[in-house]
């Protein structure tokens, strides 16, 4: 066990030496890896922030139920009763046509309202629903539509649904981008390790003659690629934090303009760890493939 550990520590030391031996080259590689990882990471975080924002703004989705223009008080009471009894409905708020008109007036359209010959607005109910399963809204609205006196049902959650669909699409795009860039990183690492093996051909050959096993020869390459990946992952994190930092103040200003308080969130501990771990894994994968391809001894 301690022997195994010793061999690994030695291989890691060797990998560090190789990294340090060409500081500029190593730095450029790390930067390339960092930027390649930062792109999808930023995309993921921005989408996550937008989703959070959307959730905050929409709150509990509402259903507006508009009655016929000539609805009598009896019809209003009946609808009210049935809504209160419905097990899906959470809250019910009645907005009379007079109230609705006042609201319209207050919203700055007083000129328009004054020009109207009569109140064009119907009585309405605003209903919130238990849970946030979109199927519940659909089912409820379909049911309510058939009731006597109900003219029109409008799902206020529609734009939220659309936004969610859009976010899903964007998420898929980010995932595809991440896969593409991950593939590119594996290819880059594959080539880096290939070049290292070429320049160390002589040393590898001599080591073999002196009794070096395959794992002994391969280990430093694995370590090199993993360490480079880890450094690239850290560089990506720094890039992400810079991007979030730059966007923070404009976002807060924008949110304030809408009377909301909103701060962009950066990657949390788990996400940061996952990013660095993923980068190390990609490095390992690239080096493993390269070592398999270029370091398998041809036995005669």
């Amino acid at each position: 066990m301690s022997h195994w550990l010793y061999l690994h520590m030695r291989a890691m030391g060797q990998a560090l030496q190789r990294l340090a031996a060409q500081p500029l080259g190593s730095m450029l590689s790390v930067l390339v890896i960092g930027i390649a990882l930062a792109l999808p990471a930023c995309g993921y975080l921005l989408l996550d922030n937008i989703a959070r924002l959307a959730h905050g703004v929409s709150g509990a989705p509402e259903i507006s139920i508009f009655l016929a223009m000539d609805a009598k008080q009896a019809v209003i009471d009946e609808v009210m009763e049935r809504l209160r009894d419905d097990e899906v409905v959470k809250t019910v708020r009645f907005v009379s046509r007079d109230n609705a008109l006042q609201e319209l007036e207050r919203s700055g359209l007083d000129d328009v309202v004054r020009a109207l010959p009569e109140n064009p607005l119907p009585d309405a109910f605003v209903v919130t629903v238990k849970g946030d399963d979109p199927a519940l809204f659909g089912e409820l609205s379909a049911r309510v539509k058939r009731w006597r006196g109900v003219e029109h049902v409008q799902l206020d959650s529609e734009w939220v649904d659309r936004l969610h669909a859009l976010l899903e699409l964007a998420k898929t795009a980010v995932l595809a981008l991440a896969c593409l860039l991950a593939f590119a990183l594996v290819v880059i690492t594959f080539n880096t390790i290939r070049l290292q093996i070429l320049t160390q051909r002589h040393e590898i050959e001599v080591s073999r003659l002196l009794g070096a096993t395959d794992p002994f020869i391969r280990r430093p390459f694995y370590w090199f690629a993993c360490l480079q990946g880890v450094l690239g992952g850290v560089a990506a994190l720094v890039a992400v934090w810079i991007v979030i930092g730059v966007l923070q103040s404009p976002t807060e200003t924008l949110a304030a303009a809408y009377g909301a308080i909103f701060t962009l969130r950066g990657p949390n501990g788990m996400e940061a760890l996952a990013l660095v771990g993923f980068a190390a894994f990609l490095g390992w994968l690239g080096s493993a493939l390269s070592v398999r391809r270029h370091l398998t001894e041809r036995l005669r």
Binding site: H3, Y6, L7, R10, H202, E203, E205, V206, S207, R208, L209, L210, G211, A212, T213, D214, F216, E297, L299, R300
Partner: protein, 221 residues
């Protein structure tokens, strides 16, 4: 103990470098392998270290059939041998010390012990205190001795060397041959190829002579 049983080596391309070679080298023996250039001396040594495999026949090292060794077992065979190749195979971008200590690093010796043994090996070949130099700064004879130090640092029971005295002035060559004789005196089985068998004659070594891949003298094989 090294045993060759009807060993034939045909290189890809069809050239027969060794033809039906049989001999036995007992533990603690000193043998000189002679023959013209191209006779198959290097090929024979490479077969002992499993660098080449026999086309036919068997090579046994301490009872183990090297010709049928799994690839994963080859490194462990090589660790039990001391190997000095024809071109000394030094790492010129490393220090003298790093070169000598490499076999011990490969076998995973603790650094302190490895350093101690490497220093002892350098002293043994007359390179004490030269550890921090680069091989390129050493003379031809010193480089050869460095290669020998690297070969013995693992305390092998068998030492094989391919023309260790080639390209050396006579004085250096004598020095090198003395080294091998002293290792042999300490119980190491030594097999050396050379153009100049006279260098080793004071010890009445076994003589193995190859001619165009055939064994012409085996001295009682």
């Amino acid at each position: 103990m090294i045993v060759f049983e009807h060993v034939t080596k045909r290189y890809p391309g069809g050239y027969t470098a060794l033809a039906d070679v049989s001999f036995t080298l007992r533990h603690g023996e000193l043998a000189v392998l002679c023959g013209h250039s191209g006779a198959g001396k290097s090929t024979l040594l490479k077969m002992i270290a499993a660098i080449e495999r026999p086309t036919r026949g068997r090579v046994l090292i301490n009872g183990q059939d090297v010709s049928r060794l799994k690839p994963s077992a080859v490194p462990y065979l090589r660790r039990s041998l001391g190997l000095v190749m024809q071109d000394n195979r030094l790492l010129h971008d490393r220090s003298v010390f790093d070169n000598v200590v490499l076999p011990l690093v490969i076998t995973g010796h603790p650094p302190k012990e490895a350093a101690r043994r490497a220093a002892a090996a350098l002293e043994r070949v007359g390179l004490a205190g030269r550890g921090n130099e680069r091989p390129i700064g050493l003379s031809g004879g010193e480089q050869q001795r460095l290669a020998i130090a690297r070969a013995i640092v693992n305390r092998p029971s068998i030492l094989i060397a391919d023309e260790p005295t080639a390209h050396l002035d006579n004085a250096y060559a004598v020095e090198i041959s003395r080294l091998f004789k002293s290792f042999n005196a300490a119980g190491v089985t030594v097999l050396v190829t050379t153009h100049d068998a006279a260098l080793f004659m004071t010890n009445r070594p076994r003589r193995i002579i190859l001619d165009h891949g055939k064994l012409v003298v085996g001295d009682g094989a």
